[in-house]
């Protein structure tokens, strides 16, 4: 579904502090599977996730979504692809404070001009399915870590994306909550979604629901299984 060929990414290019986060990645991500990018801090796994998820463009190399080369598209087109194809669950969850959980869930759908009632109904249904229905009208800052993550997942799913991207999803959760998260991943996989995660948590990498583990070190791919 997603193919990367010789993808490189530099930060502060041309400056004294130039840094190459990715140094030539060749990779294919299959649809309907769960893939984990594993590696130590600074290995480039989050950068790889941002390139795959159209949050950034590679410095060189190609990123293809199905048969379409998306590595050189202008931001506007990337935004369009991002909101229709990808749903994001960030490491810090990145919920907006001061507004309710349900409003947080609906935010990605606002620019699409969907009917407010239908949108609210879908958000409620998603929250119910993730067992956080009663928290719909709680402010985001009042939620526990596990609840906040499930709100973030509901937000990622509101536009019904094909791919769900999660950055270090279990980094802020205890083992029980991590298991619950993996249960959700299983459900997503069962419903046909492609799931991409970064993690160095063995609980995630070694679980049965994960189909592929891609190991990175110093911006290079060292192992794929």
């Amino acid at each position: 579904m997603i193919h990367l060929s010789d993808v490189r990414k530099a930060f502060n290019q041309g400056k004294s502090n130039e840094f190459w986060a990715l140094k030539g990645i060749d990779l294919s991500v299959r649809a309907g599977k769960v893939t984990v990018f594993r590696g130590p801090s600074g290995s480039g796994k989050t950068t790889l996730l941002t390139l795959v998820g159209c949050l950034a463009r590679p410095t060189s190399g190609r990123v293809r979504l199905r048969d379409r080369d998306i590595s050189g598209l202008p931001e506007r087109f990337l935004t369009d692809i991002r909101r229709s194809t990808f749903g994001f669950v960030f490491q810090q969850f990145n919920l907006l404070k001061g507004i309710s959980a349900i409003e947080n869930v609906m935010i990605p759908a606002y620019p699409l001009g969907r009917d407010r009632k239908e949108l609210s109904a879908r958000a409620h249904a998603l929250m119910e399915s993730l067992d956080i229905g009663p928290k719909a009208h709680s402010n985001a800052e009042w939620l526990s870590g596990g609840e906040a993550q499930r709100v973030a997942i509901a937000r990622a799913l509101i536009n019904d994306p094909e791919v769900v991207i999660a950055d270090e999803p279990t980094a802020n959760l205890d083992s029980e909550r991590s298991q619950q998260f993996l249960g959700i991943v299983e459900t997503l996989k069962a419903s046909g979604k492609t799931v991409l995660m970064t993690s160095h948590d063995p609980l995630v990498c070694d679980t049965a629901v994960v189909d592929h583990v891609v190991t990175l070190r110093d911006g290079q791919l060292v192992e794929t299984r």
């Binding site: 941002t50 907006l96 935010i107 950055d167």
Partner: protein, 377 residues
């Protein structure tokens, strides 16, 4: 079309909830903003209304006034000048006027004495303005005495008082009969204070003034338009003075609003990053922030203007009264007739709402064009 409408509605809903999230900042900003609009609009509304009032009052006054000048000073004018003026083609009517000022030691105030021609006042009677009623606590039937030019006592019986509706021009009026006026000041018959001329064709006023000037070289001609311009200058000057005094606070507001509107907090930058990461376009983010600025500035403008309207037309512009109205013992108590000048509203709107909205958009645009992957780092 409905997609576009739903999108606008969703963005507006989110704008309002964004503003309510930063309630303290939003309300503080709105309070200062409202205060500035209130002050500026009060000054503008008052000055405009009083200029209009002067124009309305003067519309009923004669088009041309003729005064005699002796050694560069105003002197009494002989009645024979009336015949010379009436002989000029285009003059509709000409009549002598008697008026002057009388100092009342009891009230320590000056009254404006006039002799009305219609209706005439009976000798020994007086009709007084609202200000005179107040300072002398005079009621109809009361007696008022004054020393005439030769030291003799002249007594008046109050016939009635003039209503407060016209207080702006009648507060200090003291209307007497011609005989009493001449006795009080020792002005013999056949002399007037000045002459009031009305002209048949308003477009000929300047020409007729020229003819009077040529026929009566010892006179000074005053046109109604000149008086109106003088009034306008006086109130323009007062309005300008007040605005200059307020310039400091306006500048402070400009700096405050620029700082508040343009200074994006780290939290706001983070939010913009999140919105972009979850699929908002740069244009959507800018539209959202522009709407936030518009909601604040538009609400402040409307509330400020409404408060200024109430302040000026219902509470007598209490805050700026001494500066804008001037001061007198016989201070008129009056309520201004509401006049609103559309151009003035548009000017105020342009100079308050527009800069604020721009001040909000520039930094947002800078923040909104950053790559959405910043939230992942």
């Amino acid at each position: 079309m409905s997609v576009w409408l739903h999108k606008q509605r969703n963005l507006l809903d989110f704008t309002l909830s964004s503003l309510s999230r930063r309630r303290g900042k939003t309300l503080g900003m709105m309070a200062v903003y409202t205060a500035i609009v209130f002050v500026l609009a009060s000054v503008m509304l008052f000055a405009h209304a009083i200029r209009q009032e002067a124009a309305v009052v003067l519309a009923k006054s004669p088009e041309v006034l003729v005064q005699r000048m002796v050694a560069g000073r105003h002197d009494l004018i002989p009645a024979r000048h009336l015949d010379a003026i009436k002989a000029i083609r285009g003059v509709q009517s000409a009549e002598g006027r008697l008026w002057g000022y009388l100092f009342d030691p009891a009230a320590v105030a000056n009254y404006t004495l006039m002799v009305p021609t219609n209706p005439r006042i009976e000798p020994g009677m007086v009709v007084i303005g609202d200000g005179v009623v107040r300072v002398r606590s005079a009621d109809p039937g009361d007696l008022m005495s004054f020393r005439a030019h030769d030291g003799t006592l002249v007594q008046f019986k109050v016939d009635k008082a003039i209503g407060r509706d016209s207080a702006l021009v009648s507060a200090d009026l003291f209307l007497v009969s011609e005989d009493d006026f001449r006795r009080l000041f020792g002005i013999p018959a056949g002399l007037f204070t000045d002459l009031a001329i009305s002209v048949r064709n308003p477009r000929e006023v300047a020409k007729i003034a020229e003819k009077i000037d040529a026929a009566l070289p010892d006179t000074r001609i005053i046109l109604r338009d000149e008086i109106l311009r003088t009034y306008e200058s006086v109130f323009d000057w007062r309005e300008g003075m007040l605005l200059v005094l307020l310039a400091g606070s306006i500048l402070a507001f400009a700096i405050f609003s620029w700082e508040k509107a343009s200074g994006l907090s780290a939290e706001e930058r983070r939010e913009i990053g999140i919105l972009k990461a979850v699929g908002w376009e740069t244009g959507d983010v800018i539209r959202l922030k522009m709407q936030e600025g518009l909601v604040v500035s538009l609400s402040a403008f409307l509330i400020g203007y409404l408060l200024a309207y109430l302040h000026v037309f219902h509470f007598g512009a209490g805050l700026f009264e001494p500066v804008l109205k001037g001061w007198a013992v016989l201070y008129p108590k009056y309520r201004l007739t509401p006049f609103v000048d559309e151009l003035q509203v548009a000017t105020l709107f342009f100079f308050t709402v527009f800069p604020y909205t721009i001040a909000t958009v520039v930094p947002i645009w800078r923040a909104a064009i950053v790559d959405p992957d910043t939230v992942m780092r």
